[in-house]
Symmetry: C2
Subunit: 898 residues, 2 copies
């Protein structure tokens, strides 16, 4: 097997084998762009190393051959002191893992080589700094020696020479430092320093392989959901030097502004510097145009290379380059990372420029980007400076007073204060405090930590893994560098980008949200180019997608928002939400009623309220379907908590007070209705079988509302959905009782509005017997939240806070199955149900209601499974519209390459 | 379509079409047995009637033609007054529904016909009693007139003539009564009485069809699980009369004793009587031999017919016959019902007689029968008489004091009293009282009532639907006829046969249980013939079955019982059961531990106990596999109840008492571990991922116990089972951690006992992804209880007491899916898992542990699904051994007829 390839082999599609960096280097070589020559050791070599723990003799031999070929090509010799070839050894995985992986520069170095470099360039500082730099990087990367061991020996030299940084030393002192570093390494390893170029190279390669499994890299992969078994490629490349005198320098540039998307080159240039110096910000860089003043031919050449690369990649590119003694070298390129705003703008610009078509534009933006643009934003014009940045763990902008103790958070929240809970990391004990907080900030843990998973589940903003802050619970403070933040101080956190600010940053509504709600006209001159871009893309998405997008909405107000956001109907109206809050007493009264008369009275009161709710929703949604789900939750959810009531009564009895008859009655009802696992108890259709009058009331109110709304001239398309169905017999029985009531109402009113009746598919049994349920169902709607709970035996309320984070940490789960559909398990049930259903009723309308309906990955799955619609929260409707279209173009591109 | 067939058409296999009675009549005609001629109207005609509500002209025409053919055959004429033909009209469904369905005798009757009968027989009483009987039956059955309406007009005649029963009246008075009855009918219907024979017949047929859906019949079918859409056939048969003078009579006989199985004819004969008179016990019948003294030729003829029928049916037959003026007529036969004891005895007798082979013998007995014989029995020799009988709803013999109020039952039980809870019917509020009671007696509801379902779930004896008793809650008594039973009175109930006794009936252990436990040797001369029969059949069953039978046992004692009962291993040892009772504090202490040292201390204590348990079980089970399931339940099950603890602390605080630190700590732990749906929370493998030391302790104890037991010379075959697995990754991760620990222990001890590690399949996800789990599992064991809960979203603890009985009542479920596997839903998942697994690992060992493993219907399913073993409670092992063999022979007979 070939484990080593010269850059002249391959192209950018081969990142699986060559890593992202290697594949792009090969692509550039193919385009005739000046790239320092070299070769790539493949990810397969790394995988072999990870399996066996050694780099095989075969790979060693292939590396030797590649070095020889490189020497012949560039006319220099590795380890030679006359015309020495030095190389960089860099990791390059399939997915970029910035700062995570190891690099060794100047491999092939020795004191003799450095002396020769001094002689060739006349620049002693350059030569001996390269010497020092190699030894330091080798010690750190290959020998795993902590930096402070090196500082211990270099600090006296700095003091002696009265400078503050190693870079300020002169040539001889740099050599001295380098030699001292060699001593540190030899002492640490107990072996002589490898002065052979080949030994240096092989050890550096192995160190890069090894770094794939460093703790830091593992953590990063978990955070970014990068599979653990990919391995990294290694790029060995001839060194070019940006730090040889004034005619050298190094820079980074983008072909468009990665932050705003504005067209035109954008970047930094730093004369007399190496790549790291630009990135680490140790010296202030100049704008790219500075290169023009210094070296116009090199600048023009760079400009034309940028044009070439963008035309070739048909996308904004990110380029690293070096000018060595006046000559331009391109070290790296890739499709540039960009903000959500830039993504939309660049996509439509490229369409306008004829580089890509609208289908391709759809692939260049994501629902998550659109979703992030829709959150309220911190007002950038307020001028408050970022304190630090952590991991964007749960989107949203949150402002509050810092609290470290979850119980204090709960107390403060009760008094109306806004708090941000700050913890090293959270655990199940902190749940109450998390609920009470506006947002959560942690110093440890990533996107799958307890804090992140729970915050996303609750819709709270969260910034996690902010390792630049130190939380000191004993002192009730956190430190960020020199800054100390105390309990009660105000901070602001942005869960969409991980930013943390001191003070109360003003929050402004998102213009994108104004636009998607129809409050802002994209055609008006005042609309920003971002809004115009989004409008073009969403308009095209609506023409492209096959699936309809509906919304989950329980009130006329929510329905109105949903409609404005582009919902093509309501996929889920939860009628139980109509009996919460101040209406809760109605259900309690019904449960406690002792006579039929009492029961009828309460049911009649409930009917009036339901009727009004339905009338409101039907009017707003005129011309579009509205799916009403009958009562779903267990009745005791409407009652007082069993433990609280028991304690109250026990206390009254202890004090010798009379316990009220009502409380005693209530206690009996609560005990009777108590269930050890209510999620799998008396709820949904089962309630309808046991207490039919409650559900006939619901369809009666619905039918009457439909008649009234139609009478007023609206176009009403009502659908009734039965929850928790598990068998054909219960569906048939229950459907009959609903139909009878509907027919009665229609006959009385001499009306004939069609009300279709469908079933939720949310029990595994319903999924696997869907073909039987299809006999008595006009449509199916997958309830993937319950289906996930039952398929996994995961009670969402319980597991998100208990073991799910641990499972994500250990990579036992790639992601929470409540955030994104588990395609192999729950998805398989969905596919089976679709297939079985369509085999008996080819045109059966199939949809999904629930949060997965707004999740991009899940939407693609539902598209492929053949659903007719997804239904999600109103706020996610634009995201779903976009992703439903992306599912079409991405499935097409898969099938066209297949 | 042919809706009417003469008895000469068809045979006994055609009960679907002709009903059980009709099919057997046809069979007897084919055998040349003297059966009064007639014809059968098919179940299809009934089904048409049930659909359309009318008997079609086509069916009328076919009946007319059949009457004509009958007239020609027997030489009598229907409705004729010279040589009149009278017929009986009887229902005859596929399954016997004794007492449920309607009969009209003497159809074709009129005053003229009766007068002619008097003239022909010289027996006025016979003739006019037949007249009276017809009119009464017609009024009751066809016109739905209550009996007391008839009594109102007949009572004055009885008084006048100074007799107590209508049957004691003379001819003229009987005619008078008949005429008065005609008046009652005409008044009730407002129409003239139908004196035309044809009208009488057609109305009687329609009434029989109609009776299929009488409330009584519907209730019976639900109790007996007979499908509602079968319909009944109607048999129209020439009347023969057992009540013409002294040379006539009627009887019922069995070809063997249906109670004990003893060979030889057994039955009753009543001279000068009609069939009902024998059945209703209004007159004392003579033993069958009485007929010999009266009419030896008829007796001999009957004996030879019995021999012929038994030889033909190859089974014990139940025969109704009539002697009319010295001539024998057979009215009906069928394979006779028998007790469990008789079933085993008759089966082996027939084998000895060469009538059937052992395979057929297996089909003649059931696991339920064997199971019933294993319950402790009431001592029949104690001579106490049965009070009454209800429906045998949940087997077992229970003795206790009568209590009507569930709360009183709980109070009494707390003081150590044994109580029988007596209710009209039970509901979820009664649960506490049901738990406290030895047994449950209800006056209403059948095998699927709340009381029955809950009692079976809890293993309590129950007799339900005892409609002969009246429960009067206000007076705290129940009445049975004249007998009044008060609170505190002792009663005894037998849930295996429905018998209710007054007083404390002594309970004797079952000899069958002694035998299956190996305490009683079937080969010893002292063993009863029943024991010898069971021994033969079980021995043959063990040779015949393909599936192994294991037991669920958590202690050495249970394991010993299981082994004696024939278990071929332990399929489930629940290790959590080792930490209940007095050991519960260990888990609590572990949960509350605050330091690693504390935790290690408690874990070390637990390990000692587990080790001892395992050593004990392994020794008992030497040479057989033992499957140990690691901790399964949520941890909080080992802690104090959250509500109770909260109340306790609140009360202490209210009293100003100091709450102990321990209680406060406990309260925090209880709150932290509280879950809203623990069944789907932190349990099983998930606990193992979160608290690995608890589970490594378990396998360490297990491995060390195996080593020690082997050292002592026993043959140990340990298997470890991981509960609640849902994904391949968690299985792999967890399995690795177990294997490491096992290897460590083995290496330390220089031992190499193989411990296989398997996974439970109890989440739907595990079932549908079984092929993936198979990569890291040495065996699978289906946990069909949890799988049922999750597939249906049925929390067993909750639904059995809340809506399941209602679902069974409404026939939304045919049976509780916890009692017998839901083959269409849960079973489909089992089948999918088996198929997918075997497609990748053809030899994978597959079993089931849990109660379904002891349920006959489910065992047949598991056999067909291809499982290698079932595991059930030790007591059910013999039942499972028998049914696993029956599954083989019954599947074979299905495939050989297919």
């Amino acid at each position: 097997m070939q484990y080593v390839h010269p850059f002249s082999f391959g192209n950018r599609t081969m990142s699986d084998l060559l890593g992202g960096k290697g594949a792009n280097l090969a692509e550039m070589v193919g385009l005739g762009i000046p790239v320092p020559d070299g070769f790539t050791i493949t990810t397969e070599a790394c995988q072999e190393f990870l399996r066996t723990g050694v780099v095989s003799p075969n790979i060693h031999a292939q590396i030797d051959a590649a070095v020889l070929a490189l020497e012949n090509k560039v006319g220099k010799k590795f380890g030679d002191t006359t015309n020495p070839l030095l190389v960089s050894v860099r990791s390059g995985a399939k997915f970029s893992m910035p700062g995570m992986m190891e690099t060794v520069l100047n491999v092939g170095m020795s004191a003799d080589v450095a002396a020769r470099m001094e002689a060739m360039t006349g620049d002693a500082r350059f030569a001996w700094d390269s010497y020092r730099r190699f030894i330091e990087m080798f010690g750190k990367t290959v020998c795993d020696i902590p930096m402070h061991d090196f500082h211990k020996v270099s600090d006296p030299i700095l003091k002696r020479d009265n400078v503050t940084a190693v870079a300020d030393l002169q040539g001889p002192a740099l050599r001295e430092v380098g030699d001292l570093f060699v001593g540190v390494i030899e002492k640490h390893t107990g072996q002589a320093f490898p002065w052979t170029a080949r030994d240096q190279l092989l050890q550096a390669v192995e160190a890069v392989f090894h770094s794939w499994n460093s703790e830091r890299a593992q953590l990063y992969r978990r955070r970014e959901r990068i599979p653990a078994d990919l391995g990294t490629a290694v790029n060995v490349q001839m060194m070019v030097f940006g730090n040889i005198g004034e005619t050298s320098g190094t820079g980074v540039c983008f072909t468009r502004d990665p932050s705003t998307g504005h067209p035109g080159a954008y970047g930094d240039y730093l004369p007399r510097a190496q790549g790291e110096d630009v990135v680490n910000g140790s010296r202030n860089a100049f704008p790219l145009t500075h290169l023009k003043t210094l070296n116009e031919p090199a600048f023009n050449q760079l400009q034309s290379i940028m044009d070439k690369l963008e035309a070739h990649y048909k996308d904004m590119c990110d380029i690293e380059f070096t000018v060595e003694s006046g000559s331009l070298w391109i070290l790296q390129t890739r499709v540039g990372k960009r903000t959500a705003e830039a993504a939309f703008q660049i996509a439509t610009q490229l369409v306008d420029e004829g580089a890509i078509d609208m289908n391709e534009a759809l692939k260049r933006v994501t629902g998550d980007q659109l979703g992030n643009l829709m959150f309220p934003q911190f007002d950038k014009s307020s001028g408050i400076k970022e304190l630090t940045r952590g991991i964007a763990a749960s989107p949203g902008a949150a402002v509050g007073q810092v609290v470290f103790d979850p119980r204090v958070a709960m107390d403060w929240a009760l008094t109306g204060k806004k708090v941000i809970l700050v913890r090293r990391e959270t655990n199940p004990d902190d749940l109450g405090g998390m609920v009470a907080a506006q947002g959560i900030l942690t110093s440890r843990g990533g996107k799958t930590s307890h804090a992140a998973v729970v915050a996303r589940g609750m819709g709270r903003a969260a910034v996690c893994g902010t390792d630049s802050i130190e939380v000191i619970n004993d002192e009730q403070i956190f430190k960020c560098g020199d800054i100390i933040v105390k309990q009660g101080d105000w901070i602001s956190i942005d869960g969409s980008n991980g930013a943390v600010y001191l003070g109360e940053v003003p929050v402004v509504p998102s213009a994108v949200t104004e636009y998607v709600q129809g409050h802002l006209d994209a055609a008006s001159p005042a609309a920003s180019t971002l809004i115009k871009s989004i409008d073009r893309i969403l308009t095209y998405a609506d023409k492209t997608r096959r699936m309809h997008v509906r919304a989950n909405a329980d009130t006329p107000e929510d329905s109105d928002v949903a409609r404005r956001m582009g919902a093509q109907g309501i996929g889920l109206t939860r009628t139980e939400h109509m009996f919460l809050g101040e209406r809760r007493h109605l259900v309690e009264a019904l449960i406690l009623a002792e006579t039929d008369d009492e029961r009828h009275k309460w049911i009649a009161e409930m009917e009036v309220l339901q009727y009004e709710d339905f009338v409101g929703i039907f009017k707003v949604m005129t011309g579009l379907p509205v799916t009403v789900r009958l009562l779903d939750p267990p009745l005791h959810e409407f009652l007082t908590d069993k433990g609280e009531l028991g304690t109250k009564i026990a206390l009254q009895e202890a004090r010798g007070e009379k316990v009220s008859d009502y409380d005693l009655k209530l206690a009996r009802a609560v005990n009777r209705l108590h269930e050890s696992n209510p999620m799998m108890g008396l709820r949904g259709v089962r309630l309808g079988v046991l207490i039919p009058e409650l559900f006939t009331m619901q369809v009666r109110a619905l039918a009457r509302a439909a008649i009234e709304v139609k009478r007023q001239g609206f176009d009403v398309i009502p659908e009734v959905m039965i929850p928790l169905v598990a068998s054909q017999r219960e569906l048939l029985y229950f459907r009959n009782s609903l139909e009878e009531e509907i027919h009665r109402v229609m006959a009385e009113a001499k009306s004939d509005i069609h009300i279709s009746i469908g079933s939720m598919i949310e029990t595994p049994r319903a999924a696997i017997t869907a073909a039987k349920l299809a006999d008595y169902s006009d449509f199916f709607s997958f309830g993937t939240n319950d289906l996930t709970q039952l398929t996994w035996a995961f009670s969402r309320d319980d597991v998100e806070s208990s073991f799910l984070p641990r499972y994500l940490d250990l990579e036992l789960l790639p992601f929470s199955p409540f955030e994104s559909l588990d395609q192999d398990g729950v998805g398989l049930l969905v596919k089976i149900a679709c297939k079985e259903t369509r085999s008996v009723v080819p045109n059966m309308k199939l949809g999904v209601c629930g949060e997965h309906g707004g999740d991009p990955r899940s939407i693609h799955f539902f598209h492929e499974a053949g659903l007719d619609y997804v239904s999600c929260s109103p706020f996610r409707v634009p995201v779903a519209r976009l992703e439903a279209a992306r599912a079409v173009v991405m499935a097409d591109s898969v099938s066209s390459t297949a």
